[in-house]
Amino acid sequence: MRPARLAALLAAGLLAAAPEARAGRPTETLPAETFLVDVAYLHSFLKNAYGDAGERTQLLDKLYRYEPGGGLQGIIIPDAEVTYQILLAKLQYGVLDCLSVGLGVPVVLRTTVEPRLSWVPGDYMWWLGRAYTEADFWEWAQSMGQPRPGTWVGNRGVLADLVLGLRWRFSDHLPALGAEGVGLALMLQGALPTGQKKDPEEIVSTGTTSWDLHFQGELGLHLAADWRPPALDGRLTVGLDLFYEALFEHTYDAPTGRKHPLILDLAPYVGRTYRLDPGDFLGFQLTAEVVAWRGPVLETWLSERVEDPDGLPPLLSLTVGYAFTWLFQSDWESESELWDWTQEKLWRPGYKNRLTAELVLSLLRLGVPVQLTASYANLSWIPGRNSRATDTVSVGLRGPFKLF
């Protein structure tokens, strides 16, 4: 295996990945007939969203509760916190030197949703002799069959949407670009609907579909370019990825109030099912990969098998990135135009600003064909609009192999 190809192989982490926690180089493909296995653990935190004016707000709408004809009981403020733990396994294969395909298998290990409800008292109720306290309200609600929503834990070992991907680096056939250190690639990825929809009867649950995870679309088209300035001896690579990702319309069951009769009985007017056509994504990502420490090459079985051992991947490299994503309006369609609006107003057109960093510790120079990765993606530092501020950390390892 030539060292340049090996290095390329090990940097090809973007293919068929959940891009949320990954930066890396956008045009890399695998050498022909080579496999790459990549396994990562992702821990995703979600506490806030950005509203229509870009203000930081809660994930869920405030609930105004009224005593029938008696004024405002109070306001329930759900300061929900969602945690996803995901195991992401990827298998990629180089069909041609310029064409790789891959399969991503995301498995949600566990999802936790803490509603963290707080209470703002409403009007004074003369018959009660006070305004409703939070305890008063939930006693009242319980007496009508409405339990207080507690922490929800679910999606234990549940498959998310499988991802298939294909990347074609067409700049291989434009020699003038190659001489200048420029790469261009086209990537197509699609999701198979293997994820699980949220339980409609649960007020704070989530599912494992692409829509629930909101990391990527169900069909994505990427045009990527990167440039490695020849004068810097490969110490810097800058990349640009333009993308459009579509989410398809799906049908969901409407809640019937079986578990939450007061606040989740929608089927009588929404209809037995409703359709959701989520807003697509359009955006770009800028990346810069820097060799932090090239490191020594030890005399090992691996160094003996490559033509240029010094060309093995550096011991430590860092990739940082920034992505801007336009979010299109999501469209709900049910029998109730009013209810559709209550959903659609939470998913109006907006954008998100994502910062990413990935640190790669490559052990190839030391004779071990493995790379360890640690990544961080942040959506909460730079405000967005009508988007959710998910932060994700991940750790993983990857290694190449050939069957023949």
């Binding site: 029938p68 041609l96 305890a135 009242w140 069959g145 107003k345 057109p349």
Partner: protein, 631 residues
């Protein structure tokens, strides 16, 4: 292998550029979702069934969401909680068929089926049309169209029962007034025995004036279970007080000293030469655990006012305006003017209706313009799937606007009186909103409407205004007249000089002059609406038990001031301003607002928001050709 890729590259690049350009263009054109209108405007023509069908078909989803959100997930579970208490004394409700959360639904359904027997056939046909058009069970549509009448009567019963079990303010005295050298009760005598004390009586004017600023007010609260001092709260315009605060004292009073006397002398005294007012809240010593949350038997908040030395007016000259306590909402209100009271002499009826929004009703409002076969075209303001309205006008210019006036002279009391513990809480009669439809369909003048409405079977206490294109206006106070003593239908015309239409001081009960009438939710013509002893209960007139009484009196006086300031200048614009006055508007349960100009056939309406007057007023021209009435 790489050569395989080469021929495709330029084409893919071109495709991609094209795609991105297209997407960018799409992005620029993609619009954010917009909030749908909360107001449905429908022009309905044909037979009653056909009009109902058109209505139901147009609002199917909104009818179902109104029913679900307002009834199924709000009022019904809320009232289900009352079952144990009611089943304790009305044995019928111990039956198993009221189990499993069916109690409140069956209360409404059984009342609806009782009302169905007296609702004119054409409206039942219309209801069937609504049900068929919307694809919902007729039973649900019937309940949706009758529950308000049942609910107000049910609510009155619960207010009354609370009143029976909670502390009462029985006596008030002003320590220091008995020897202050002033005529405190307006009887022409000074410091006569008893002048400083009074049995508490809810009233629209104050009972004591010229009180020394340093007087101590003594209030006696009595309850068979004892009054809990921890539940007592006093509020003046300046501050709120509880026992233990400076200026607040506790003692005993009443029969055998079993009552709780609470005294108040605010630090620094009361403001000089001022009208001031108190709000008294009190609860008894019991703890009611069911239905939750646990609470004492709380009395309605009672209010009384007085003036301090130097104010210079007799008691009957000082209206009980009370004050804004920061939490109570005024009730619905309306005003009718004509002649010298209106800007151009033409009649005008303005109404701001409030009752029950629950963050739901305002999203389901409807303006229905009916063009019935063999009847007058007319419009009502209401809700999707509801064929009734509490205000409306017809093409001849007859306008009406109704408010519920809490009253125990209602069918539920009649049931109780007849069957005692075997009674059921059944409403009967014709729902007010349908009586409104009836006069709009058949009558062209106030006189005709009164003729039709007199003797009608009322479901509750209702106060309403009528106006016509000829300038006739009238205020009506009606109830079910369960004793059959002929007191259930009182009419007041503004020009009336009949002593029954004047207060003891000779002032008009209806308004400011001969050309205006005001509408609130307390009786003025029929203040002694019912006084009846039944079992161990004493059913008394509304002023003694309804929580709305003091608020309505306050609203009545404030509205009077607002009208007085606009007399002779009241046109549609001034009426809009009046309907929007914050001190008059129920900011929680406002439902719709209307300004009707009978002589022009114009109905201006604002709805779809809370308060309704936050929405712009739009105009419906009842005399416009079919299809052109809505703007």
């Amino acid at each position: 292998m790489s050569q395989l890729c080469a021929p495709l590259a330029p084409r893919i690049a071109r495709l991609l550029v094209g795609l991105l350009v297209g997407l960018t263009a799409c992005l620029a054109g993609c619009q954010a979702a917009s909030e749908p209108s909360h107001v449905t405007r429908l022009e309905l023509a044909g037979t009653p069934y056909e009009r109902g069908f058109q209505h139901g078909q147009a609002v199917s989803s909104k009818l179902r969401s109104l029913y679900t959100q307002l009834l199924a997930t709000s009022i019904l579970p809320y009232l289900n909680r009352e079952r144990p208490g009611i089943a304790d004394f009305l044995l019928e409700y111990q039956d198993a068929r009221y189990d499993d959360g069916q109690f409140s639904y069956l209360i409404f359904l059984e009342s609806a089926q009782s009302l169905e027997r007296t609702i004119p056939a054409e409206y039942l046909e219309e209801l069937r049309g609504v049900a068929d058009g919307a694809g919902v069970p007729y039973e649900q549509v019937l309940v949706l169209n009758t529950f308000m009448d049942t609910l107000v009567a049910f609510r009155a019963m619960t207010y009354f029962l609370r009143d029976q079990a909670s502390p009462r303010l029985t006596r008030v005295s002003f320590e220091g007034a008995e020897a202050d050298g002033a005529d405190n009760d307006g009887d022409g005598e000074v410091d006569e025995p008893g002048e400083s004390a009074m049995e508490f009586e809810p009233a629209p004017y104050v009972a004591r004036v010229e009180i020394p600023t340093d007087a101590r007010i003594r209030m006696c609260l009595e309850d068979k279970d004892g009054v809990d001092p921890r539940q007592v709260r006093l509020q003046t315009p300046e501050a709120a007080y509880v026992p233990g605060d400076p200026g607040v004292g506790l003692g005993t009073c009443g029969q055998d000293g079993a009552g709780l006397e609470i005294t108040l002398r605010p630090p620094g005294g009361f403001p000089a030469a001022s009208y001031t007012s108190l709000i008294v809240s009190a609860g008894d010593a019991t703890l009611i655990a069911e239905p939750p949350p646990a609470k004492a038997n709380m009395a309605r908040e009672v209010r009384f006012g007085f003036t301090t030395r130097g104010f210079g007016k007799a008691p009957w000259e000082v209206p009980e305006r009370s004050f804004d306590d920061g939490r109570s909402q005024p009730g619905p209100f309306g005003v009718a003017v004509r002649g010298a009271a209106s800007a151009d002499g033409t009649p005008l009826l303005a109404h701001h209706f409030s009752m029950l929004d629950s963050n739901t009703a305002h999203k389901h409002t409807a303006v229905l313009l009916h063009r019935p076969e063999g009847g007058l075209a007319h419009a009502t303001l209401g809700w999707t799937g509801c064929i009734f309205g509490f205000s409306g006008m017809n093409e001849a210019g007859l306008a009406y606007a109704a408010n519920p006036c809490d009253c125990l002279d209602n069918p539920l009391t009649a049931e109780l009186r007849e069957h005692l513990i075997l009674a059921k809480l059944l409403s009967s009669g014709v729902p007010m909103g349908l009586l409104g439809r009836e006069v709009l369909t058949r009558c062209t003048t106030v006189a005709e409407a009164l003729e039709r409405l007199r003797g009608a079977a009322y479901t509750f206490g209702w106060c309403f205004l009528l106006a016509d294109a000829g300038g006739d206006i009238a205020l009506v106070e009606a109830d079910s007249d369960i004793l059959g003593d002929g007191t259930g239908f009182r009419v007041l015309r503004p020009e009336s000089e009949d002593p029954a239409d004047l207060d003891p001081q000779g002032r008009r009960l209806g308004g400011e002059g001969p050309d205006d009438l005001r509408l609130n939710v307390h009786f003025r013509l029929n203040p002694e609406d019912l006084d009846l002893r039944l079992l161990n209960w004493h059913l008394r007139p509304q002023r003694y038990w309804t929580n709305y009484y003091f608020r309505s009196v306050r609203s009545h006086h404030l509205l009077g001031e607002a009208v007085r300031a606009r007399l002779g200048a009241l046109d549609a614009a001034a009426a809009e301003e009046l309907l929007r006055l914050p001190e008059l508007v129920d900011s929680r349960d406002s439902m719709n607002a209307s300004i009707m100009e009978p002589s022009r056939g114009l109905l201006r309406y604002a709805l779809g928001r809370v308060p309704a007057t936050d929405a712009p007023f739009l105009t419906l021209d009842l005399r416009a050709p079919a299809g052109e009435a809505f703007p």
